[in-house]
Amino acid sequence: MKYFLFVLLMGFSALTFAVEEAQTFDNAQQAQLFKELSLELRCPKCQNQNIADSNAVVAKDLRDKVIELVKLNKSKDFIVEYMIDRYGYFVHYKPPVTASTLVLWVVPILFVLFGFGSVIFRQKKSAVEQEWSEKDEAQLTKLISKYQDSSSQMKQESGQ
């Protein structure tokens, strides 16, 4: 009897969790993939919105297609390429890596290298500028001996 009541109770409590999800996927990975893609794909008709956000008809079509492909267990790359085949690179918020877009990565790296390099270059330059030549050495020796002579002379004169 206790067991029966228990099972009945469990059955009833399960009803309170029967809230319908807006989307139904087979597993958590699919739900996650859909979420990621809906943030990464761009609505072709909107003022810079992703398809998750937009109410446009074409955005809804894209979302529906993504759901369809996700449920078929297609990979992220496959789905993105599927969309690009139809709507062009515009539809993906990640730029393709082509000769013309390489500048996006190359220029910042060059800038950083140049920036670091200029500091190191400055260090070398200031080190070089302070180079000591032979002529300077000779002049210094002359000055030191002159001072030593004059100071020893002063010592003699003050009677030490």
Binding site: P44, V57, V58, D61, D85, Y87, G88, Y89, F90
Partner: protein
Amino acid sequence: MSGENKNSKLMFAVPLIIFFLLCIFLFKGLFSNPRELQTGRLGQEMPAFNLPDLMQENKNWSEKDLLGKVYLINVWGTWCPTCLVELPYLTKLRERGVEIIGLYLEQGYDPDFDGEFNIQALRDEVSQMLARTGNPYQYNIFDLNRSLAFDLGVSGAPETFLVDSKGVILLHHTGDLNERTWRAKFAPKFTELKEVKL
């Protein structure tokens, strides 16, 4: 030493040069439309499809029907105000010998919510509209679920595709087709293909 000075002077001019280049692009950007998109299928063959004719019962069209001649495929709908403005010009193009096939894009129908689609009401609406503006279309393909539109990368209406005799998509124009855009984009391609005497 003077060489070094020249180098450093040149260095200080680099920001100016870069800025100047930037201004050129910003200036050109003022005259281009950032919303204009191109299909990803440019240069490729038409995708496969099997869709019913809009006005005739029991008549279907496929991509094979587009082979052999140069066509314009015009995406439109009665709900689209710009299409209404475009229709008279398309009719004129038909009179000049350009063959245009309509791809009717249905926007309002949601299979989850609405019932059976009322095709007759739509046919009446289309007949009425084309009676006013003239009929530029050889025939109309009815894309209820926007499947062909999706495969073509269509995001709204009006849009026009130029397809050659081998079924290859040569051009995709978003926005209405008028004399200016015809002369700028389509006419040169037509002359190239030497298919139609204009």
